[in-house]
């Protein structure tokens, strides 16, 4: 549907996703915990391997840790 306005379509999709909830309080403890653990892991790894602390690698780490890994986990979960 190339003529469909993209942002309204995206908003519709996002409303249906559990991670993008109506109420910010409903962003679950699990999500916050995931961010906290990922952040601590990033900090501890970066403390030893400074190359992880560059802009690009920091973003890649955030992206892969917080989005891709849980997405894969959900897919693999029986």
């Amino acid at each position: 549907m190339p003529d469909e306005p993209l942002i309204p379509a995206l908003l519709e999709v996002s409303k249906g996703h559990p991670e993008v909830s109506e109420d910010p309080w409903r962003e679950t403890l699990g999500t916050l915990l995931l961010y906290a653990v990922a952040l601590l892991a990033y900090a501890l790894l970066g403390m030893y391997w400074h190359f992880l602390l560059s802009w690009t690698r920091g973003f890649l780490f955030a992206f892969f840790t917080i989005w891709l890994l849980p997405a894969l986990f959900r897919r693999w979960r029986p």
Binding site: P24, L40, Y42
Partner: protein, 238 residues
């Protein structure tokens, strides 16, 4: 220079200005002065070998890349974006983000040419010592031992106080509709990935804040010095 402040200031700005500015533009504007110049300041030896003889002058002065830290660069970016893309949220976002970087960097001892090109005089509050000329390792150790660390913690705290700016609801209702770039990105990534991208600068900034503090003060024993203009030990190296 400031470190983490440039990563998290955009969230505070967007929380105050809402959908009138593009978050991505504020973030890019906030990073823009250092985005392609920092590697030259520290020098690189991977692939190509380059380093400047005088990082102190090169980074903030003229001749050098100092004008990228001047507010006039933010104005130039905003005008260019306005003329080419006719996007007010992007033009204002780039301008405000770059200005936030410029004024934050007046806090160190090197200062910023705020009135360039009319004068090359640098404005400096001299709250902490600029130490890039000592290389990345010592610069990092000095910054995260100085009032610069408090400055970064202040901005992380300001963002956490306004924690709703990091929520999915704020992203969906305010950030996303203000910027068609999210819509374009959404052609290739699912919504939860866009949300991660939106939060990534905060994650990255706080992550490296913790990492560098642990490195400087747990793995190593660099001395904290929160006195104005600190740390004194890096001045002794000069």
């Amino acid at each position: 220079m400031s470190w983490v402040a440039h990563d998290v200031e955009p969230y505070v700005i967007v929380r105050h200005l809402g959908g009138r500015v593009s978050f991505l533009a504020v973030l890019i504007g906030s990073w823009s002065p250092d985005l392609v110049t920092k590697w030259m300041v520290y020098g690189v030896t991977t692939g190509i070998s380059y380093h400047t003889d005088d990082p102190f002058e090169f980074h903030r002065g003229w001749p050098g890349v100092g004008p990228l830290h001047s507010p006039v660069f933010g104005i130039a970016m905003a005008i260019a974006v306005l003329l080419i893309f006719r996007s007010h949220p992007w033009a204002w976002g780039l301008l405000i983000g770059q200005w936030a970087h410029a004024f934050s960097d007046t806090m160190d001892s090197n200062g910023v040419m705020l009135l360039f090109p009319f004068t090359e005089t640098r404005t400096s509050v001299d709250a902490w010592t600029y130490a890039a000329e000592h290389g990345r390792t010592l610069d990092t150790a000095a910054y995260f031992s100085s009032p610069g660390l408090l400055w970064d913690c202040f901005w992380v705290g300001m963002t956490l106080v306004r924690w709703r700016v990091l929520s999915a609801a704020y992203f969906r209702d305010t950030v996303l509709p203000a910027d068609p770039v999210w819509g374009w990105t959404g052609r290739y990534l699912p919504p939860q990935a866009l949300l991660v991208l939106y939060r990534a600068a905060f994650f990255y900034g706080t992550g490296r804040l913790v990492a560098w503090v642990l490195w400087a003060h747990v793995l190593n024993s660099y001395e904290f010095d929160f006195t104005w203009g600190g740390p004194g030990w890096v001045k002794d190296l000069e």
